[in-house]
């Protein structure tokens, strides 16, 4: 059951685990901010008309926001 969704595909309230990235061209800051393979997260909010996505890291409830372009490059499996 290897379904490779990207973070962009998640709906509000859905949980997922980061599995990797679809490109190497990801700013180092994403890793530093906690988008590390194995991280569980939850989609908290999506800004309207294709705006940024707001996610919550499950382990410590910290909240991050990123653009959909970048969310598209983060691969996840749904929980």
């Amino acid at each position: 059951m290897i379904e490779n969704y990207s973070l962009k595909d998640l709906k509000i309230g859905e949980q997922a685990v980061v599995t990797g990235f679809s490109t190497e061209d990801i700013p180092a800051k994403f890793y530093e901010m906690g988008f590390i393979p194995g991280t569980s997260l939850l989609v908290k909010n999506k800004a309207p008309f294709g705006g940024p996505i707001c996610i919550s890291i499950i382990s410590n409830k910290s909240v991050l926001a990123l653009r959909r372009n970048e969310a598209d490059k983060i691969l996840i499996t749904k929980k």
């Binding site: 700013p27 906690g34 590390i36 309207p48 705006g51 707001c54 910290s62 909240v63």
Partner: protein, 699 residues
């Protein structure tokens, strides 16, 4: 007495600045780091017979900078010869994001910087659901850990005592990946470095700011030969470190949540709601505008009264003569012209500071990113653009936390289009002159006109952003990742310090320029070449033998001005401004307001020989308006201020770059004359074209 340099290092939103304020007890000053424009906050305290020089470094997630301000951290900590290299680094974390702070702590220690670890906001350990085995964490971090609460001063004394203790010995934590060991060894020998990790930094950092040019080109060659891509090394380090931390911290730190929604989650349901979020943001903007324009009025009157009093005293105390005239007639009114904006600017910064302190600002960035991206800007451009409504100078400085070069440059270039408070007095005078005082559906035309001017500012900013977006090439891909901190009540001490510093900075920076310009204008307006200037009194008296004394004096002043150096200058540029419908008097106003817009009203009152005019004072304003209304343009024979010239002037002021302080700050922030000149040229050119079209369309 021993002298210690202490560096405060930490992620954003950990309460670092609150801690700094508590430690230094407000005995602090803001300056710049040598050679760069990054703001340096430093405080000196004496405790137990020792002197401490405490520096609050810009918040950063790692020692790899992703924005301009963050660069200073590696620049200082990587270089033992740096004048700010600390005796002790205090790395600060907070309960909800300990792992990230520990990562930063380990990087600092791996650089061989002596450091201790602080968990601030200790009161939140429980509410954040953090279980922590302090003893084990201390063993793991190889240091004693200090718990503080900067808001209540808990743990501050213990922390200060730790400043004089030697940091515990430390075994380097990060293991250089095997495949890089040989090249790290080579770097160590080549650049004479003691530490493996510092050598690794030479490879993984995009820039090593403290190395000589010669060495840097050598480094570049080595990196190329071994096909080292700095970013990959950074990613590798981040992944490696996180992996180890995940394992090691597993039985040291854990979070348990009761499953209930946190307060922040609940508030966010409304504040970043796709509909209500925007409505609330709009409401807050309106509140800010209301505050900046309505609430500041009594304060502005107070400033004016104060300066009026000082001016009167100065004139009566200083013996008559040129010094009296220059101080009472030029310098004091010049400084008043700028001090009068202090209430508005302070109120605006109060709101911005509260929005930042509470955590709401990141929500605004989140909401607005989608709407600013098509213009080549980022959600983070919101802060400079809003601040630009008060004053472009601090607004442009606040663009520093935009990571992407291009988005930052664009933001800096378009922010001066926003209607700053210096444009307001000009708009008030001109609108009163040319827009009829009538109402439509209960709305006054004049108020509507003022509103339109503000909209024009926004359109000017966004429109030019689109244009510049096509021209400027991006060096890096644009991305946005931001932390949305938990909501907090503002730390009022931080808010107060922030407002004070920003306002004072504005007053001093802009004050210096206004000071100089007032003197130059005064000299140019007071002296003149030729007979007509020297014999002004006789000539005017001969022309108006029946005039009463006061009118005669005004007439003489006006005649003198026309033939002064300033008047000549006005005549020289008349051909340039004539196509816009202006005469030489308006030309003088334009020239003088190239220094700063707020000079316009003052110059106009000198040109129309009314002495000092206070636009807030209705009687005085009416006199100025009356004179301006009856003024005939000598070129066209029509009223100098009719709808066509008035609108033309309004548009000119809306778009032209007429502020030396802004030009200076843009040069400083972009570090490029090219962009500074392009911006000044573009804005003024646009202003000219638009004013020209408007004049000929309405004529």
């Amino acid at each position: 007495m021993n002298h210690y340099k202490i560096a405060l290092i930490g992620n954003p939103n950990v309460g670092k600045t609150s801690l700094f304020n508590k430690l230094t007890n407000l005995r602090q000053k803001v300056g710049n780091y040598p050679g760069v424009t990054v703001e340096k906050r430093e405080g000196k305290i004496e405790r137990n017979g020792n002197k401490f020089q405490i520096t609050d470094f810009p918040g950063t997630y790692t020692i790899y900078p992703s924005s301009l301000d963050e660069e200073i951290v590696f620049k200082t900590l990587g270089d033992k010869t740096n004048s700010h290299y600390p005796n002790l680094a205090v790395v600060i974390g907070e309960p909800s994001n300990l792992k990230r702070s520990i990562l930063l702590y380990q990087q600092v220690r791996d650089l061989d910087v002596p450091a201790i670890f602080v968990i601030n906001m200790k009161d939140e350990i429980k509410s954040k659901g953090l279980n922590i085995d302090l003893k084990k964490l201390e063993d793991f971090l190889q240091t004693k850990i200090y718990l503080t609460n900067a808001r209540t001063s808990e743990g501050i004394d213990e922390l200060v005592e730790a400043f004089t203790k030697d940091a515990t010995p430390y075994n380097r934590h990060y293991e250089i990946p095997k495949e890089y060991l040989s090249i790290v060894e080579k770097i160590k020998n080549e650049f004479n470095l003691k530490s493996d990790y510092l050598a690794w930094q030479y490879l993984s950092q995009k820039e090593v700011p403290f190395e000589s040019k010669e060495n840097l080109s050598k480094l570049d060659t080595i990196k190329k030969e071994n096909s080292i891509v700095s970013k990959r090394l950074q990613v590798k380090e981040a992944l490696d470190r996180n992996k180890i931390l995940e394992e090691k911290l597993n039985d040291i730190i854990s979070y348990n949540f009761d499953g209930n929604e946190t307060l922040t989650d609940k508030i966010d349901k409304t504040l970043i709601h796709p509909v209500f979020g925007y409505i609330i943001f709009l409401g807050i903007l309106l509140l800010i505008f209301q505050a900046v324009y309505a609430w500041s009025a009594p304060l502005m009157t107070m400033v004016e009264d104060l300066f009026g009093w000082i001016d009167e005293k100065a004139i009566s105390l200083i013996p008559e003569g040129p010094i009296n005239e220059i101080i009472g007639g030029a310098i004091i009114p010049g400084i008043e012209g700028i001090a009068v904006f202090v209430p508005q600017i302070a109120i605006l910064f109060l709101f911005i500071s509260i929005m930042e302190e509470t955590g709401y600002m990141s929500r605004v960035v989140y909401l607005m990113d989608r709407w600013l991206k098509p213009f080549g800007l980022s959600g983070k451009s919101v802060v400079p653009l809003i601040s630009g409504v008060a004053c472009a100078v601090p607004a442009i400085m606040s663009a520093r936390n935009i990571e992407n070069d291009k988005e930052r440059l664009l933001t800096i270039l378009v922010t001066p289009f926003m209607t700053c408070s210096a444009r307001l007095p000009i708009y008030i005078v001109l609108i009163a002159l040319v827009i009829p005082d009538e109402h439509i559906f209960g709305l006054s035309y004049q108020a509507l006109a003022l509103f339109v001017m503000y909209i024009l500012g926004v359109l000017g900013a966004l429109g030019s952003a689109i244009l510049l977006d096509l021209i400027i090439k991006a060096k890096h891909k644009s991305y946005l990742i931001l932390e949305m901190p938990t909501y907090k009540l503002p730390d009022w001490k931080n808010v107060g310090i922030n407002v004070w510093e920003k306002t004072l900075g504005f007053l001093v920076d802009a004050g210096k320029i206004i000071f100089a310009i007032s003197i130059i204008l005064w000299v140019l307006g007071t002296f003149g070449p030729g007979e007509q200037f020297r014999n002004a009194e006789e000539i005017v008296t001969a022309h108006h033998p029946k005039m009463n004394e006061e009118d005669l004096a005004n007439e003489i002043a006006s005649y003198k001005l026309e033939h002064s150096y300033l008047g000549r200058l006005g005549s020289v540029i008349e051909p340039v401004v004539e196509p816009l419908g202006y005469d030489w008097k308006m030309g003088i106003g334009l020239i003088s307001s190239f220094a700063a817009r707020e000079v316009f009203v003052g110059t106009m009152s000198t040109v129309y020989s009314l002495g000092e005019v206070d636009v807030e004072d209705n009687g005085q304003k009416d006199r100025l308006l009356h004179r301006m209304k009856n003024e005939i343009n000598q070129n066209t024979g029509e009223p100098a201020y009719n709808l066509a010239t008035g609108v033309s002037l309004l548009l000119f002021y809306a778009f032209a770059m007429q502020c030396m302080s802004t030009i200076a700050i843009v040069k400083r922030e972009t570090n490029s004359w090219k962009w500074t000149l392009i911006q000044t040229g573009f804005m003024t050119g646009l202003a000219y074209v638009v004013a020209f079209i408007a004049y000929h369309f309405l004529k």
